[in-house]
Symmetry: C2
Subunit: 678 residues, 2 copies
Amino acid sequence: MANTTAMANAIRALAMDAVQQANSGHPGAPMGMAEMAVALWSRHLRHNPVNPQWADRDRFILSNGHASMLNYAVLHLSGYDLSMDDLKKFRTLHSKTAGHPEVDLTPGVETTTGPLGQGITNAVGFALAEKLLAAEFNRPKHKIVDHHTYVFLGDGCLMEGISHEAAALAGAWKLNKLIALYDDNGISIDGQITPWFVDNTAERFKAYQWNVIGPVDGHDVDAIDAAIAAAKKSSDKPTLVICKTHIGKGSPNRQDTSKAHGEPLGADEIALVREGLQWSHAPFEIPQDVYKDWDAKTVGAKTERSWQTRFNAYAKAHPELAAEFTRRMAGELPANFHQVVVDSIIDAHTKQEKVATRKASQIALEAFTKALPELLGGSADLTGSNLTNTSSTPALRFDAAGNVVKTEAGQIGRHINYGVREFGMAAVMNGVALHGGYIPYGGTFLTFSDYSRNAIRMAALMKRRVVHVFTHDSIGLGEDGPTHQSIEHAASLRLIPNLDVWRPADTAETAVAWAEALLQKDRPTALLLSRQAVPYAAKKDVADIKRGAYVLSEPADIGLKQAAQAVILATGTEVALAMQAQQLLAERGVAVRVVSVPSTNAFDRQDTKYKTKVLPENLPRIAVEAGVTDFWWKYGCAAVVGIDRFGESAPAGDLFKFFGFTPENIANTVQLALQKRA
Amino acid sequence: MANTTAMANAIRALAMDAVQQANSGHPGAPMGMAEMAVALWSRHLRHNPVNPQWADRDRFILSNGHASMLNYAVLHLSGYDLSMDDLKKFRTLHSKTAGHPEVDLTPGVETTTGPLGQGITNAVGFALAEKLLAAEFNRPKHKIVDHHTYVFLGDGCLMEGISHEAAALAGAWKLNKLIALYDDNGISIDGQITPWFVDNTAERFKAYQWNVIGPVDGHDVDAIDAAIAAAKKSSDKPTLVICKTHIGKGSPNRQDTSKAHGEPLGADEIALVREGLQWSHAPFEIPQDVYKDWDAKTVGAKTERSWQTRFNAYAKAHPELAAEFTRRMAGELPANFHQVVVDSIIDAHTKQEKVATRKASQIALEAFTKALPELLGGSADLTGSNLTNTSSTPALRFDAAGNVVKTEAGQIGRHINYGVREFGMAAVMNGVALHGGYIPYGGTFLTFSDYSRNAIRMAALMKRRVVHVFTHDSIGLGEDGPTHQSIEHAASLRLIPNLDVWRPADTAETAVAWAEALLQKDRPTALLLSRQAVPYAAKKDVADIKRGAYVLSEPADIGLKQAAQAVILATGTEVALAMQAQQLLAERGVAVRVVSVPSTNAFDRQDTKYKTKVLPENLPRIAVEAGVTDFWWKYGCAAVVGIDRFGESAPAGDLFKFFGFTPENIANTVQLALQKRA
């Protein structure tokens, strides 16, 4: 029999000692959740410490990420490649033990958490991906996808609005293999929560159609064990296990106080904890028998081997499915995808359709969703506006028993009605991408990227391929008015490191934008798309679109013999205006080059030679974008035609005129810039 | 007896006709909520159409703002200064009838809505302000503050995460005079909501400690009337009235479908509606008897007069309180506040304390909260980190009966524990500011401004004085790591029109930033404050700080005889580094000016003369800020010392070195820029 008391106390000791050594961190939550971790990790979690990438492992997500030392402790103790030395370097530069858990940095960490509420929402995405992959790939007698998603979460996660969206989606999707353990300790940073947190959480989750178990004693390993066992039997509902715990459990002076939350206990208090727990070992010293009780390597290897045997049988019976499963989980695109991309771009370039770029997006998606079964689309209740659905993506539905509904052809639904839940959608997509097997994309209006902004940031930080389809991207949205019109959004999204923002001008640029979004494995992409139709921007070549900026039209292309005197940079729906301004300027005897800039991020990655070719140093630059001007000065512009105030409610055409987005105003601005220079 | 059927149908007709005329808009929700509006507006709402600013009016908030035509219809019909011509101009440029309701544009509109979920959250702020003002100003036999806050909201609002934060806060605060009517029509844009919205909303709201009434028949005026009457009797709980309705009620082919939601019905369908409703009047024609039934001018004037009589008696009994109430509701600061500001700045300048700017903020707040009883602070569960509380702001608490707890000195609590609800906090603050009587401020970490971003934007759009205290403003946050470290946030907040962003460098700049935030009535402010201590930046004068950028140190100030060869622009915690770099450069024979830039927004409003004085055209500029570089090119910089990637988890000192925020690197960058120029 394992000594669960010692196992739990090992977590407590490592947490308080590492926080003390780092002189910063959060000891209270790891100490409070120690028995929850023992119950889950030693009695339920199916994982193999030697192979943290095993496809069918259970996923563990620490939504209250500040309890990172709990995660590091159990990873270390159970046998992951995380040494005691790593623990000693907690919160120091370039260690494997960052302040909050970071995916890819620490083996066994499934997602980066810390911003509260997003971990549980990621977990919903993990559990959704599992359910969908199981429906897609499992075959009678061959259950190769069959794992649980476990989450620890605290009061903070449950106060955040996104927990509402996450829980509602999990309930609607009947994610029975999602099991969340709530660290119900009654304390948040400001103190005892009663004055500001009066939710009846059990009733709240029942209202979301969850299975709620408890409250159980969160320091009773057997009780938690039994609750998890019961949760695993749920066939059509996610489960919340409410664990009544004491923050800082074991600390005589800090337990049950917010003082236990976010600072070292101090040497004296740590000594008292050691005494009280009868834990006589030195800091960072764990007795061998405790290691033995925690060790999961042997069982883990065996569990994975057993799965591998099953997978081998599956591969024998269904070789194509097995190969596809392997490809999908590796995140590799099919070999023919490059050709699909080329065909789509050429098709757009040939047809030269005048459509809104949101429609251009749907056209590109029509081909790409057909070619890529891993594309899992959706919209935050704006499907008909975002045009995120295609003929290959039936709506995802679940039957009363909780099973994924399949089409007559046996396909699962691949377009998700996320409801009016932008932040939830974004964080669920992050979870889906982290799980693997699908490439998620989802739509809303660009302005409401504000709602999901931190989840977009998290995808960028985690380097995950998630595609945001943001339509109605400027004052071109029209009558709905300033609450719905993006002004600062294009510029402000471009500031998020490792996020690619594309604002394409026509069907070809949109196809390229989509292709780049899918080809870039290590970053998310935001596609900014128009409500209103735009003409195809006549171009000789489509090869340079993917470089983010390219010469769209030279003076010679409109019959001028003069060399360009200036460059107009334009994006999205303003490219057509720039082309008209070029024409108008030609009539006034001024020759300009038009550069289309669908992605400043992609352009910034080009070499100096290409950049200088597109934007010669000696020519003044005038940028045109229906958004804030501040961003464009980085390209050394002489002038920017933009909009530095909120919009108005009126038809788009009226607004473009009112705000100066006309060929005349652009042409005048160019001429003024040339005069100033002269 | 009023003909309530005709009253409701008048709303339907105006909504469908105005949407048809605009060729865009949302007829379904107004048609579905018509009886709800009749019941509320004709039988309960205490308001005076002739004076939409009457202090003690009931507030009506349309959280599902796309139903704007319902709001405009009832405002017009009941006698507000909103003519039939205004209705005919629905959704056209510069009309008083924008696509979504906009405060200050249309008399009787209390808040700008459209971004779902925020209206109900604003309403929580309105109801909170009412309850606090009542506690502060009412006296035995003198009840001068006594009104209700009514909200209409739909499925979309209830799906949004922020609805969770709003409802939880309203429950915790026992806001019994908040009455929300839920337009429960079972349809959202993507169709019948059952696959994606399975919440049991009644149980959910009971879990938040709300009083839930219904479902009632949302097309039965008497039933809704009775429900509202019952809701008004609640003494310690907010109320949700669930009204079962039919979207597009009256439209034979669109009722109960998402087609009714967001597009004109079309002439044929409109004819069928007219026929079905037996509404034979031409578009924009309302019979006189319907106007008569709707008219609220007489009763409204009487109601206000009766209040005025009571207020006069109050003013006689409590003249100082009455004057203070009038001042507070007008949003005017007390006459002595300017002196308090001057004293605070001089005090900071004299003491020259080395503290974190978050501490500097608390020091300024200590004086300002004492001087301004209207300052209503709070924090999203980070009080001890944000330092938003002072000795004048006890924690706000409510007793079991729902009353505001007062201190022994009879003061109400003025610091709010918002819980971990950043978005909710921001939108509640907007509601408080809109109601009047208080100036709200609230704190969280700067990175989590992402969570509340759209509410910050809404404050800017609505031109309301709301102060965001964003601490831990850069990699200086240290060990908590990249999830918590702001990189793009300062720059991206500066892009929001009409928001002032301040990133002060020391105690004097922080006092100025706070003063400016409070003195500017027509805009919100974000204060970006450091976790770590910074030295006082030696300066000769504090007068120009409020201009947003000023010359902090000339070469002569450090004993050089040379004129400046370059200008270093720095903000916040990097100002001290710039000063050290200036010294280091002097040792290397290079003379530079240091310009401190606490607020680019304020600086951008200065005249050209001042701007050129601070940033002479002939001197190269090098900007230093621990954030993304893109923003700074707008000041024509030759180089920017910044950080264009996510941070790391480590002590702040290590990170500043690792990312090149050292006097050496700044000095080298300046020298390189000078070499390039030479």
